[in-house]
């Protein structure tokens, strides 16, 4: 089934809140440029430690896509000090949980541990920050794992496949056109030397942020960070060219055919984010607008399209204001039985039109603001999420303080501002539409298709 990212978008949409209520965030900087941010949360005797690197797929280029993510995999394959997989073994033996993730804008590694074991995390992370082995034999195996991951996440998932091509068409020159996991052909031809270069370029203390949240003392964490990360040499981090997306001057449409049962529609308007907004309030108005459409079961998409007219079996809207450059306000969905993709598109665009024509009601506005205020408290239940918030805002260059301002900025948004951003940005010339056209899954049909394609997806 499609979407329903509602819950998690909710987290993205509603980061930390009112400054007055927030426990203090402590910021430190090591001589080698590593930034350390510590937030105390003493509810439970645990700590989460996250190392964030300012590099992700949007830093990559055609022909070598997928480097950031593949490197993330290789980061578990050892240093001269620790053999392949030993990081994971050590963390496991210490009762810890670990993982890593890559996005368009950053790559991050984390451990969750009992609070007294933070030094184990620092020991391992500082080692692999500068001393990764990148053994060709390990790479040969791991790139196969990455390709399996791609097959699982994208090639065999018709909606993901559609999303991927949608992005590549919505963005022509911005790094956001590049899929996080990389194109299959680039993965097949990736070399361990490419990864080494990528590692040496971006993995250095002065391109990283260390975030610790939990039952810790900030000064002690700082001392520990100095001990383990202090000796690392800084690197020379290249200044990225902006790669600003060229202006879109007309609607774009694509169709993706894949074996599937259900049609799927995804559409996106180019919109500003905090980084490039000429008017600082506009991204917050877009956040509220996203809430009006999809901030829960009472929001307009659920009320009018899933219940109401019942055009959609599923549908959602989403926007995040913390991208590094111009991004999309996205809508997607699957039509209900008896309705077509064209009807669903019309219905979603009808909802957008309404936002251009009429002011949102006081009641809607109030509901969204209440959700932001309460959501701000709920988020504090997770130390992991609190760290995530700080790390991502730092890594895209906005600064963690943006999280603390969020509730007040949202509260200040007016109905007129919501209408204004709808009128200004949610217009056809800035729109890209992708449609998944389901192809039969049966044997006979499949054989026919294989003869005509020869691509990876059906190999």
């Amino acid at each position: 089934m499609p979407i329903l990212k509602r819950l998690m978008l909710f987290c993205l949409l509603f980061p930390l809140g009112a400054a007055a209520q927030n426990p203090a965030v402590h910021e430190f900087k090591l001589d080698n440029g590593l930034k350390l941010i510590v937030k105390e949360d003493h509810r439970s005797p645990v700590a989460v430690s996250q190392v964030w690197y300012k590099v992700g797929s949007s830093y990559e280029h055609d022909g070598t896509t997928g480097l950031s993510h593949a490197l993330e995999h290789m980061m578990f394959k050892g240093t001269p000090e620790h053999g392949p997989n030993e990081f994971s073994r050590i963390i496991a033996e210490n009762g810890g949980r670990e993982n890593a993730f890559t996005s368009h804008d950053y790559t991050a590694y984390f451990q969750e541990l009992e609070k007294d074991r933070l030094k184990i995390s620092f020991d391992l992370e500082s080692d692999r920050m500068r001393h990764l082995t990148l053994d060709p034999k390990e790479f040969a195996k791991e790139i196969q794992v990455v390709m399996e991951e791609r097959r699982m996440r994208t090639d065999d998932d018709p909606e993901s496949l559609t999303d991927e091509q949608f992005n590549a068409v919505a963005f022509l020159n911005s790094g956001y056109r590049i899929p996080v996991i990389g194109w299959m052909d680039d993965l097949k031809h990736m070399r361990v030397e490419d990864l080494r270069k990528w590692y040496e370029t971006w993995y250095a203390p002065n391109n990283a942020t260390l975030v610790v949240v939990g039952d810790v003392d900030p000064q002690q964490v700082f001392a520990l960070a100095k001990k383990y990360f202090g000796p690392l040499k800084p690197g020379t981090i290249p200044k990225e060219k902006p790669r600003d997306e060229i202006p879109q001057t007309g609607i774009r449409r694509i169709t993706v055919k894949a074996p599937a049962e259900l049609p799927y529609l995804v559409m996106g308007y180019k919109v500003p984010v905090l980084h490039n907004a000429k008017n600082a309030w506009e991204p917050y108005a877009l956040e509220v607008l996203a809430g009006v459409l999809d901030g829960g079961d009472s929001a307009r998409i659920a009320k009018n399209l899933i219940r109401g007219s019942q055009v959609a079996a599923e549908a959602s809207a989403g926007y995040s204001l913390d991208a590094r450059s111009e991004d999309l306000f996205a809508l997607d969905g699957t039509p209900a039985e008896g309705h077509t993709i064209a009807e669903l598109e019309k219905a979603l665009r009808g909802q957008v039109q309404k936002l251009r024509d009429d002011l949102v009601s006081d009641e809607e506005l109030k509901r969204i603001k209440t959700q932001v205020v309460t959501g701000d408290v709920y988020q504090k239940d997770s130390v992991f999420y609190q760290a995530m918030q700080i790390g991502s805002l730092e890594s895209v260059g906005l600064g963690w303080q943006v999280g603390d301002e969020y509730v007040d900025k949202i509260k200040a948004v007016t109905a007129e501002q919501v209408r204004d951003v709808a009128r200004k940005y949610l217009i056809d010339d800035h729109l890209t539409v992708a449609v998944l056209d389901p192809q039969p899954i049966s044997d006979k049909e499949r054989m026919r298709r294989m003869q005509h394609s020869g691509g990876d997806n059906v190999r």
Binding site: P2, I3, L4, K5, R6, L7, L9, R43, S44, V46, S88, G95, G96, H104, E114, A140, K141, I143, Q144, V145, M147, E148, M152, R153, D155, S160, D163, E164, V180, P259, E261, L262, V266, G295, G296, D297, S298, K303, R307, A313, S320, A323, D327, L328, T334, A336, K366, R367, T370, V373, T374, V377, D381, S382, V383, P438, I441, D443, D456, R459
Partner: protein, 474 residues
């Protein structure tokens, strides 16, 4: 959603997703899943969600006037409360009407008392409450998260109590839910992993209630009426069939009031009867299902254990070593680390009311499916024959007991554990004794338990992927 939000994440989230989709003993929360940031959050779900341990929060327990069992832990720091009400009303109770449990649960908030779906959603969200429903094989869940401020909490509780006790099952909501369920069922047919799951449970469970999927089948869903949902609600949404888990910044008196309020309108009714025992498999069964995917999804397994099984701890610790510990498990090392054959390779037990399954699985490019399956099988057989090494056992215990605090470091995790303890009637000191029970497990107990309980020569094997035929092969 745009791939930009999607975080390509390293290992195990598929497992967590799969497990969550089955959701036995796991929190359900909201109907969400898939894509975007959910992968990160979901990856944090423990592999064995029904297992719990705690840094000694004292569990308080009592029974409401209509017989619901309440489990409460105060958590004073954040001004919020989490409430999970769990009914023994999952799809194991479907009977001949496959899918009715899920339909009933999903319709609770689509009309209750005098309120319609719009009003319920508007009122709850207008006070910033987070409400959810969910239905799995064993459990049907209704959950609420609210601030403790009475002006917000009281109206939220009022709606929750109506949704639980007075759902009106409006005809239009029923029709809509029926159509959306049919679409969801159709959607599963484009997912090789969902196809594999369905075939696996059907083959392992035969005529046991666990055989049929919680969503039902096209045929069974089409045959349902709103009267069926009303009857199901009447039978299974009762005081004696309910467990209430509460965590938050409230005291005992307030917790008692809240519990009475949310389930108090229900009749006492009867607890659901004990489920039939699961028959063991007596021969190997292999099913190939052709699907035009790049990968073949492989699942092998058999009926496993109940939640109160005497072999629970040896099997739990043993499976941690075999396939339950992410990148350091034997299966992950043999399949992924040594050979690059899969992104996710794992094994786990899902302990349930009746014997939940033991599952080992992976997904790999089609041409390697045979190879990967034989590696998986060899690893399993070798483990059963020899058991773990002392080194492996020590490492496993260190992880499980050393990571104890992480199992209960948020209200969300605590309330889930309480619900599980209550639902499966585990002792109140379960969390206090958990680490000791793990420490007491020996290598020989693990070997013996696996040899007695896990039978690779009589397992079901399901393979869904790039085969040439749709007919079953031996």
């Amino acid at each position: 959603m745009s791939d930009k939000l999607k975080v390509a994440q390293r290992h195990l989230d598929t497992l967590s997703l799969r497990e969550r989709a089955r959701g036995e003993g796991s929190q359900l929360g909201h109907k969400t899943m898939k894509k975007t940031f959910s992968v990160i959050i979901l990856s944090l779900v423990t592999l064995f969600t029904a297992t719990v341990a705690v840094a000694n929060p004292k569990i308080q327990h009592w029974t409401t006037t209509n017989g619901a069992r309440v489990y409460f832990v105060p958590s004073p720091v954040l001004p919020m409360v989490d409430i999970h009400v769990v009914f023994d009303a999952g799809s194991a109770r479907d009977g001949a009407q496959s899918g009715i449990a899920q339909m009933t649960n999903g319709l609770l908030d689509q009309g209750a008392g005098k309120l319609n779906a719009d009003q319920i959603a508007e009122r709850l969200e207008g006070i910033g409450a987070q409400f959810g429903t969910g239905s799995y094989r064993d459990m049907a869940i209704v959950s609420l998260r609210s601030l403790t401020d009475r002006s917000l909490l009281d109206p939220a509780l009022d709606i929750m109590s109506q949704v639980i006790a007075e759902p009106s099952f409006p005809q239009d909501a029923f029709d809509r839910a029926q159509k959306r369920t049919l679409i969801a069922l159709q959607g599963q047919k484009e997912s090789p992993s969902a196809i594999a799951d369905k075939a696996f449970f059907a083959a392992v469970y035969g005529d046991h209630p666990y055989a049929t999927p919680s969503l039902g089948t096209e045929q069974s869903i089409t045959a349902l009426t709103r009267k069926d949902a009303m009857a199901f609600h009447h039978r299974y949404y009762t005081g004696k069939n309910a467990v209430v888990a509460l965590v938050g910044a409230i005291d005992r008196k307030e917790a008692e009031r809240i519990a009475e309020q949310v389930v108090g309108k229900l009749p006492a009714g009867e607890a659901a009867p004990v489920l039939p025992a699961v028959k063991p498999l007596d021969a190997a069964k292999t099913e190939h299902i052709a699907y035009p995917s790049a990968q073949t999804h492989v699942l092998m397994g058999q009926p496993g254990i109940t939640r109160d099984d005497p072999d629970y701890f040896p099997l739990y610790v043993g499976n941690y070593i075999l396939g339950g510990s992410g990148l350091v498990s034997r299966i992950a090392i043999d399949v992924r680390e040594k050979r690059g054959l899969a992104y996710s390779a794992y094994s786990y037990f899902i302990p349930m009311h009746a014997a939940g399954p033991f599952i080992a699985g992976l997904q790999t490019r089609n041409e390697k499916a045979g190879k990967a399956l034989s590696v998986l099988r060899d690893t399993l057989k070798d483990f059963i024959a020899k058991g773990p090494t002392e080194e492996e056992l020590t490492a496993a215990k260190k992880n499980i007991t050393g990571g104890f605090a992480l199992r209960l470091d948020s209200n969300a995790k605590i309330v889930q554990n309480l619900a599980s303890i209550g639902f499966y009637k585990l002792p109140l000191d379960y969390l206090d004794t958990f680490n000791n029970k793990v420490e007491a497990v020996t290598a020989e107990q693990i070997r013996s338990a696996f040899q007695r309980r896990v039978h690779p020569d009589d397992m079901v094997t399901v393979m869904v992927g790039g085969g040439e035929t749709t007919t079953a092969k031996p």
